[in-house]
C-alpha cells in the first residue's frame, strides 16, 4: 500500500469556473507525478487528474467536460508552479 502525502491547495490557485483544485497528493513510488484532487460545485471527485511534473502537463480529462479539461491543460504551467512550490516546502 502506498503512503500518500498530501498538501492542501485551497485558496492557493485560481478556480476554473466551477472547478477548484483542493489538494495535491503524491507517493514515493511514482516520483514524477502528482495527483490533483478537485471539486466541482463543491463536490469532490472520486478520481483526480495527474500532473506530470517533468512535462508540466495534465494527463487526464475532467469527466466529460471538454471545457474544464481544456482549462486545466492550458493552465498546466501555472498549476505546476504552485504545486511544485507547495511540494518543495512540504518536504522541508
Amino acid at each position: 500500500m502506498v503512503e500518500v502525502v498530501a498538501t492542501d491547495l485551497r485558496g492557493k490557485m485560481r478556480n476554473f469556473g466551477p472547478l477548484a483544485i483542493v489538494r495535491a497528493e503524491w507517493w514515493k513510488e511514482s516520483p514524477k507525478f502528482v495527483l490533483l484532487r478537485y471539486e466541482i460545485f463543491g463536490k469532490e471527485s472520486d478520481v483526480g487528474v495527474r500532473l506530470d511534473l517533468d512535462k508540466k502537463a495534465i494527463l487526464d480529462d475532467v469527466g466529460e467536460s471538454k471545457d474544464l479539461s481544456s482549462a486545466l491543460r492550458e493552465n498546466a504551467s501555472d498549476i505546476w508552479s504552485v504545486v511544485v512550490r507547495e511540494k518543495v516546502s512540504h518536504s522541508r
Binding site: E29, S30, F33, D52, K55
Partner: protein, 190 residues
C-alpha cells in the same frame, strides 16, 4: 524476441482494458508519424499521437503503473504489462527507437541548429530530473572571455530533451497496433 513493459495506473484512460484480451492501439492511429510528432510525444506528454510508449525497464513501467487517478491498492492495483515482440515484429507493428530516429534526423553538426547544448557538463542532470536537479537548469552559459554576450541560460533543443528523456525512461515507441498475443503477463502493483 525482446521484452518490453507498459505501466498503466489505476483509473486512467487505458485501465479498464485488459490488453491481453484487446491488444493495444495508439490514441490516434492514423496520425502522421513524423519526427516532430515523435519528439512531441516524448517531451510534451502528447497522448493523441500515432505512437504507443513502451519501456525496456520494468522499474520505469512500475513507476508509471503507480501513477494513477487514485492511489494504487490491493483492490485497484496498477498494472505492468509484460510484452514480447518478435524480430521481425508482427505485420502492422513497427518498433521505433527514438534515439536513432532523432539522431538520424540530425546527422550534420555543421548546421546552425543542432541538438547540442551550450551549458556545462551537469546540464543533462537537470533535463533528466527537472525537479530534483532543477538547480542545474538555472545555470548561466559560460562564454569565452570578452565575448560581450548577454548572460543567458543554455540552449536546450527539443531534440536533446527528447533524447535525454527517452534514454532516462528506456523508451521505445510502437507505431501500429500491438496484438493480444504479445501481452504475456500482467503484474499488479500497489
Amino acid at each position: 524476441m525482446a521484452t518490453f513493459y507498459k505501466g498503466v495506473g489505476p483509473g486512467t484512460f487505458l485501465y479498464a482494458q485488459d490488453f491481453r484480451l484487446t491488444g493495444l492501439a495508439p490514441h490516434a492511429p492514423g496520425s502522421l508519424s513524423r519526427i516532430s510528432s515523435l519528439m512531441s510525444h516524448i517531451t510534451h506528454g502528447t497522448t493523441m499521437s500515432g505512437y504507443i510508449s513502451l519501456t525496456k525497464s520494468y522499474g520505469v513501467a512500475r513507476a508509471y503503473a503507480f501513477a494513477g487517478r487514485i492511489p494504487p491498492s490491493a483492490t485497484s492495483p496498477g498494472f505492468v504489462y509484460e510484452i514480447e515482440i518478435n524480430d521481425p515484429p508482427p505485420a502492422g507493428l513497427t518498433l521505433v527507437d527514438p534515439i536513432c530516429e532523432i539522431g538520424s534526423a540530425n546527422v550534420n553538426p555543421g548546421l546552425r541548429h543542432t541538438y547540442h547544448h551550450d551549458g556545462d557538463q551537469s546540464l543533462l542532470l537537470g533535463i533528466a530530473d527537472p525537479i530534483g536537479m532543477a538547480h542545474h537548469l538555472g545555470q548561466m552559459t559560460i562564454d569565452p572571455p570578452n565575448s560581450g554576450r548577454t548572460p543567458r541560460h543554455p540552449t536546450i533543443s527539443i531534440e536533446m530533451e527528447a533524447m535525454v528523456r527517452a534514454l532516462r525512461d528506456a523508451e521505445v515507441l510502437v507505431a501500429g497496433n500491438i496484438p493480444t498475443i504479445c501481452f504475456v503477463h500482467r503484474h499488479d502493483v500497489y
